[in-house]
């Protein structure tokens, strides 16, 4: 029996699958999961929402395949519920403050209320991003290896305050650099076992992309919008690098403007003709478009990704972020 083992027999019996990404979800399945969730969320006046969210995430992760293995989301409704309640609480306080000030009828107080409301929102955003990255990545695994986020909240605050300040005094021009720096910081702190990620796009590149996209869209009466989206997609995806033991691998998207056109026109038609009930089909189409059109340039050593110490944290800000509809990565 001992003799049975040899390198050749491994490769004969088990050939390493190609390192491609694929989304295997189906609109009908997601619809079947969403429909009862909508009903339960409505019947419970929204309290069921965290559990519904977890179910959708579990489904989407377990239908996303990389190199033949599925991802897994380990979060629970209870964890998300805690974050959800805190998010609602924070919003209730902010909105309460805003309403209190506006109902007073005094112009100065109304101004204070508005400033307080937006300042409060601004101060939550870094906490929300940080909490969401920590929570969601720590609950994501592939082949039993967990993702993790090593960023610090303090550093994120510094990035955000600096970026917001420079963006304000340059009348928004610095915005592209702000977004890119934020992305560099966040993606630079994602790890997967002994794999680290980085983002090597530059603010200037994003700024040019926006400028070109804006003017060409205006000149072509909006037709160029789809190609503008493609360019942004390229910028955000193709600049993501993964590094393992000094070896670099790059993500590579091969979406096209026509692809975006088909995706968006199709999605709009589905939404209109199903009165919004077709949203699961829209989700599946979009995920399929994004995930299945992403490849790797270079190969990772998938046999030797080592598990890092898993950290357990609360779900506090998972849904603050979702409520604000921040979509990063």
């Amino acid at each position: 029996m001992v003799n049975n083992y040899s390198e050749t027999s491994v490769s004969e019996n088990y050939s390493a699958p190609e390192q491609t990404l694929e989304f295997k979800g189906k609109g009908t399945e997601l619809f079947g999961i969403q429909l009862p969730n909508w009903v339960l969320t409505l019947v419970t006046c929204g309290l069921y929402y965290p559990w519904a969210k977890v179910e959708i995430l579990k489904y989407v992760y377990s239908k996303t395949e990389f190199a033949g293995s599925r991802f897994k989301f380990h979060g629970t409704g209870k964890e998300m519920f805690k974050g959800f309640i805190k998010a609602i609480g924070i919003f209730a306080v902010l909105i309460g403050f805003f309403l209190f000030c506006s109902l007073s009828g005094k112009p100065e107080l109304i101004l204070v209320g508005m400033l307080g409301f937006y300042a409060g929102l601004g101060l939550i955003i870094p906490v929300a991003i940080h909490g969401r990255m920590r929570y969601r990545l720590s609950r994501t695994s592939w082949r039993g290896i967990h993702f993790g986020y090593t960023g610090s909240l303090k550093q994120l605050y510094i990035e955000c305050i600096k970026g917001a300040f420079l963006t304000a005094i340059t009348f928004g021009i610095y915005g592209s650099w702000f977004v890119v720096n934020l992305r560099k910081y966040i993606i630079g702190n994602i790890r997967f076992g002994n794999i680290r990620f980085s983002f090597d796009g530059e603010g200037g590149e994003l700024f040019i992309t926006h400028l070109k996209g804006y003017f060409l869209s205006v000149f072509t009466l909006g037709i160029y919008l789809f190609w503008y989206m493609r360019d942004l997609h390229f910028f955000y995806v193709n600049n993501i690098l993964a590094e393992q033991n000094g070896r670099l691998v790059r993500l590579d998207a091969n979406v096209t403007g026509t692809g975006y056109l088909k995706l968006i026109v199709g999605n709009v038609l589905i939404m209109v003709f199903t009165l919004g009930l077709g949203i699961p089909f829209v989700t599946v189409r979009t995920l399929n478009f994004v995930i299945s059109n992403t490849q790797l340039i270079g190969t990772l050593d998938l046999e030797n990704i080592e598990q890092a110490e898993a950290d357990r944290i609360g779900a506090t800000f998972e849904d603050v972020s979702d409520l604000l509809n921040l979509d990063l990565v």
Partner: protein, 359 residues
Amino acid sequence: MAVFQGLFFDGKTSSGQPVEIKLSPGLLVLTKKYGPEPSEFGWKIARISRNDFNDREQVVLEYASEPREVLEVNDPAFSGALQAAYPHAPFVKLKYSSFVSGNPLPLIGVLVGFIALIAAAYFWLIPKLTDVAAENMPTITEAQIGEALIGAMLKDEAIDSAKTVYAQKFFNHLHGKSENVATITVIDEKQANAFAVPGGNIVIFKPIIALTDNYAELAGLLAHENAHLQHRHSLKLLFRNLSTYFLASLLFGDVNGLMAILIENAENLKELEYNRDLEKEADMSGLELLRARKIDPNGMVNLFSALKDEHGKSAIPEFLSTHPVFDSRIEYLKAEIVKKPYQTQPNDSLEYYFRKLKE
């Protein structure tokens, strides 16, 4: 016994080790096919975590070990074999909805029940709740709301201040009380109309004064509007309308919209119509005031006849049910007058202010 091929991950590295899997009672028996020493080990069924969304293409199982071990099986027969061998295990219970994978009846039942619930809430519970809220609202709060509303409504209107003074005096004499029961405002407008605003405000559009031929008709109008106020009809109406807006803004997450609602409704309130029950209640209460003040109740009947004619004349096609509504109102008013006849008394003050208003 069937043997399946799978990949085993030990939770320490991502390296997959090919294993053979046998389904024995209470235990998955795994045998590493290659390795320094091929070894057999077991996964207790009770410690395998659930996975809600396995499919035939790939089944992933996770074992509650430290660190967690993972097993992947890409065999279309494996899912069925697991179901057959461990029918009660948590990891074979998939959470795909019955709507897609089998009997849709439970879900459709829940859905229909839920829609019925929503409909009941919308058509019965919410109006009921808003009525209760309107009835129990403190007078001071009603006055505050009313003040904001009347301010917004009259902002762009041309107020006829002379006629407003006479109309107020007319109303005070009609009511016969020393304090102002309601505040009357007369404005320049094209249609013949009048309406009550929460907090004790009645707004009269000038053309309706032109429509009246004697003080009893104007008294009928004001008695009717005053009854709307006394029964808090306009507050109820406002609340019902707000509840729809409130729900809509909740559904669409539009919080800022809520702020504008009150002011927006100030404009809409003019166009809103009370339902027939509320109108009848206001007609009957108005009639009682006329009886108490010994004013000819036929004034109210004549007022509605005049309004009906006015609607018939207008070039804009009116909502079809308008005429039957006036007809039925005239009918039940006549019946009520015949049922409880009383002696009328001429009222010089009302006559005087009516003449001033008609000038």
